[in-house]
């Protein structure tokens, strides 16, 4: 089944009364369980597209079908969709609340969903990504960049998403730490039946990780590539 289908999708950034279209007429499909790659130079619109898929930018036109149901342009995500699509941001330093302990950051969405055994879920998540449980009560600044990016991945995974959006998850990290995070993502993909969309400007990372990738150029799809 297709997890995601885009037909003639254009994305604009709206600032006040001005609107600037940065992505033009994108057609693509992402199948369940695959790792889909978006590659391209800075400013080619790959992150803009990802923000739309995360429900963070409602200013788009065209047709998007997510989990078999059509999305409505101009509206933010509601209900189950919010939980099933999760995003890991580029900068592990900016994506965790600096004044909250990790437990508080991670528990917040779970409380909102009214889940039980929140602490157990968090400890389980920490084990899954290879962090020790004594780190749960630390502040983000007490972790290294690689550890923080793992916490950002746990945050997304705790909500049991079906679609994981990764916006350059390793570009702020060292090469050696990047290898650890990519291994982790591959393991999670195999064990959890996740669909991942990964944005990167590093073609090597995409070659290594993805089953299907498109290269974008100036807001349009330039090349499409299937690895399997």
């Amino acid at each position: 089944m297709n997890q995601l289908e885009l037909k003639k999708v254009s994305v604009s950034h709206v600032q006040g009364l001005q609107s600037n279209t940065v992505v033009h007429d994108i057609d693509l499909t992402v199948e369940a369980g695959e790792c889909f790659g978006l590659v391209g130079p800075s400013g080619c619109g790959k992150s803009s597209l990802l923000w739309v898929l995360a429900g963070l930018n409602p200013h788009w036109e065209g047709e998007i079908t997510l989990f078999g149901q059509p999305l409505e342009s101009g509206k933010i995500f509601t209900g189950d969709r919010r939980r099933r699509v999760q995003m890991v941001f580029q900068d592990p330093y900016a994506s965790l609340h600096p004044k909250h302990r990790l437990r508080r950051t991670l528990a917040e969405p779970l409380k909102l969903l009214g889940l039980s055994d929140i602490n157990d879920r968090i400890s389980e998540g920490f084990k899954q990504v290879g962090l020790t449980e004594n780190m749960i009560d630390r502040y983000p600044h007490q972790l290294s960049g690689g550890q923080r990016q793992r916490v950002a991945i746990i945050r997304a995974l705790l909500l049991e998403p079906k679609l994981l959006l990764l916006d350059e998850p390793t570009s702020a990290l060292d090469m050696s730490v990047q290898a650890e995070i990519l291994n982790l993502l591959n393991e999670l993909k195999a064990n959890h039946d996740l669909t991942m969309i990964m944005v990167s400007h590093d073609p090597d990372v995409i070659d290594y990780m993805c089953d299907h990738a498109v290269t974008m150029k100036a807001g349009r799809i330039d090349q499409e590539k299937r690895y399997v």
């Binding site: 290294s144 090469m175 291994n183 090597d204 290594y208 990780m209 690895y227």
Partner: protein, 278 residues
């Protein structure tokens, strides 16, 4: 190349916090007019080492060394005034991110000319000519127009070229490049490294290139020094990298993903094992 170890000669360099925590734990190295890469993960002390060569460490850190000579100057005893005669003149530095390293309130021409104002006496007309020549040398189009532009009007790759022009305008003997490409796009990275390589070659300068991506710098350097947790743990010629014997160097060399490694896990560092080696 002659007089190989004349630019930097350091023995027993220690950098640490006032409370006694050692960050760089006694390293020895020397370099001449050659291209050397200093590689390691973040927190390994490579940037501190580089900054100590520019006298740019914060006051809260102490620096000690048995022997510390930079271009035959005993710089360990130097105060700021003496450093000022060296910095930007005979030794200069390119920083990581042009977005933060360039002054947003001054135009490019003024910033590139600053080393000339500080270290050389020349007419303002000659200065403008030199600035335009330098902007052209780093491959920037239309120097006359660019001189009047401001940093926010440039892309990352152009900003990095401007920083390079600024660093090289006084024809220094040693250039220190601290992760010059990690804020840039992948396609631009190789261009900037190749540019640094050719400019350094042309001017017969020494280059200390700092990076965490071993594979990328290997093409542009003759020697590689590997740092881990404040120590220099490996030291080898760039050609010898594929056959490195130290497990840390091996992992850094092979952990870059590529299409051939699909489906197999990437090698990662066995940090506990490295602790025992230390």
């Amino acid at each position: 190349m002659t007089n190989k170890s004349s630019l930097v000669d350091v023995r027993g360099l220690q950098i640490g916090l006032a409370d006694g925590t050692e960050l760089v734990k006694g390293i020895d190295f020397s370099m001449g007019r050659e291209r050397v890469a200093l590689v390691g993960e973040s927190g390994s002390g490579k940037s501190l080492t580089a900054r100590s060569l520019m006298g740019l460490l914060p006051d809260s850190l102490y620096v000690e060394a048995d022997h510390f000579q930079l271009l035959d100057h005993p710089v360990l005893t130097y105060g700021q005034r003496q450093w000022n005669t060296l910095r930007g003149h005979q030794v200069s530095m390119v920083l990581q991110d042009p977005k933060y390293a360039l002054n947003p309130t001054q135009n490019i021409g003024r910033q590139v000319a600053e080393p000339l104002v500080l270290h050389q006496s020349m007419s303002s007309k000659a200065r403008v000519e030199k600035v335009e020549y330098m902007l052209d040398a780093v491959g920037l189009p239309n120097p006359a127009k660019l001189r009047k532009m401001y940093p926010h009007q440039l892309s990352g790759g152009m900003g990095q070229r401007v920083m390079l022009a600024m660093a090289l305008i006084n024809d220094p003997q040693l250039l220190i490049a601290d992760e010059p490409t990690s804020a840039l796009d992948h396609a631009v990275r190789d261009q900037v490294l190749a540019l640094i390589h050719s400019l350094v070659e042309e001017r017969n300068m020494g280059l200390l290139l700092i990076s965490h991506d071993l594979q990328q710098v290997a093409d542009y350097c003759e020697r590689v020094m590997v740092m881990y947790q404040g120590k220099l743990i490996d030291h080898l010629a760039a050609e010898a990298l594929p056959n490195a014997t130290h497990p840390y160097t091996q992992t850094l060399w092979s952990c870059r993903p590529n299409i051939a490694k699909r489906g197999q896990p990437l090698p990662t560092l066995d940090r506990e094992h490295l602790e025992t080696l230390n």
